[in-house]
């Protein structure tokens, strides 16, 4: 979940990511692009399909909204790609993300903030609208000292709020290079540091993404119209 390629601020190609995912024991990954690459969606899908077949790793196409305008643009075209992520950090955007049922993941709500950027009201909305909250390992990995401790504190607060109100949690590597991709056990262990139980942490890297993938398949079928509405 949540890996950037060379095509979207990242450093590695789709092939390199698929190869590393296989080495680390992942059955699938989600590559994230920004809406400015939406026009080249067909090309990206074609590349992903070929690499996925060659390496035997499922690769999903995700788009990440950085502001409300991009979010509205992506919501309108929700059926055309797999995952919709929202870049957290801005309170209005965090709120808008958890209010939108089309959104799959609110990524790092505490990004570049002194507070956690996420509260009980948002947690209730996230649960209601089935929006998962991301816990990004990269944020902790690339920082140090006071910044790292502040981020960890915010992540712990968010985990506590999510647990209390039953909002979904996902732990991701947030990698922008293959060398930032982490073993699933590392991510689960990171979850336990944030106050999750080992079962919750494992769920956050396995069954929650699995449920999302089910949802993606349903969403991309011809019967799906919008969240809660489908042709039977």
């Amino acid at each position: 979940m949540h890996i950037h390629t060379k095509f979207s601020e990242g450093e590695s190609t789709v092939e390199e990511i698929a190869s590393m995912a296989k080495k680390l024991g992942y059955s699938g990954v989600c590559l994230v692009y920004y809406p400015n690459k939406f026009k080249e969606k067909e090309k990206l899908e074609e590349e992903i399909k070929n690499v996925s077949k060659a390496y035997g790793v499922k690769i999903f196409l995700g788009f990440k909204a950085r502001n409300v305008r991009e979010l509205n643009f992506l919501v309108e075209r929700r059926k055309e790609y797999d995952f919709l992520l929202v870049r957290g950090g801005n309170l209005n955007l965090n709120r808008k993300a958890v209010e939108t049922p089309e959104v799959d993941i609110l990524t790092h709500p505490e990004l570049e903030r002194f507070d956690s950027g996420f509260n009980h009201v948002m947690a209730k909305l996230a649960r209601k609208n089935n929006v998962a909250i991301e816990f990004n390992f990269r944020e902790v990995m690339i920082t140090s000292k006071a910044t790292r401790s502040r981020i960890l504190k915010n992540l712990k607060t968010n985990a506590m709020v999510c647990k209390k109100y039953g909002a979904k949690m996902v732990i991701t590597s947030g990698a922008i290079s293959v060398w930032e991709m982490k073993d699933p056990l590392v991510l689960a262990s990171f979850g336990t540091l944030l106050g999750m139980s080992i079962e919750e942490a494992k769920k956050a890297i396995s069954s929650v993404p699995e449920e999302m993938i089910k949802m993606v398949r349903e969403r991309r079928s011809k019967k799906w119209i919008r969240p809660g509405v489908k042709i039977v």
């Binding site: 902790v140 990995m141 790292r148 060398w179 982490k182 262990s189 990171f190 336990t192 080992i198």
Partner: protein, 125 residues
């Protein structure tokens, strides 16, 4: 010198062995000493001296597959997630970019060695 008498079984700390593999950039290399230094520095940075003392952490120096870059770490049985998360924070060894894959967690060194021996025969990476 007189040898210290070993603690009775009931008082000994329960331990776990974590077998790991360092996946690194092709064409780049690093020494085992670099890895040991990086692991200690990362854990000390992240958990502090007091935190690391609680991990009862040590690197098993005589189990190291140089060619496949695989090794074993020993720690307290309750602190395994902390050690694994700490290992995950290592992304560089000198100039070499690396990522760490956890191969096996076990209560006996024998089991971990068996797993490493199997992994050493693999040719896909």
């Amino acid at each position: 010198m007189k040898k210290l008498k070993v603690l009775p079984m009931s008082l000994r700390e329960k331990k776990r062995y974590v077998g790991f593999k360092v996946i690194h950039e092709k064409g780049e290399d690093f020494a085992h000493e670099d890895l040991i230094a990086a692991v200690w520095n990362t854990l000390l940075d992240f958990y502090g001296e007091y935190g690391v003392s609680n991990l009862s952490f040590q690197i098993v120096k005589n189990v190291w597959y140089e060619k496949k870059k695989m090794g074993v770490i020993r720690c307290k049985h309750t602190e395994v997630p902390k050690v694994i998360a700490g290992l995950g924070l290592i992304s560089r060894l000198g100039d070499t970019k690396v990522t760490i894959k956890i191969l096996k967690v076990s209560g006996t060194l024998k089991k971990v060695k068996e797993k490493l021996a199997i992994e050493a025969k693999r040719k896909d990476y």
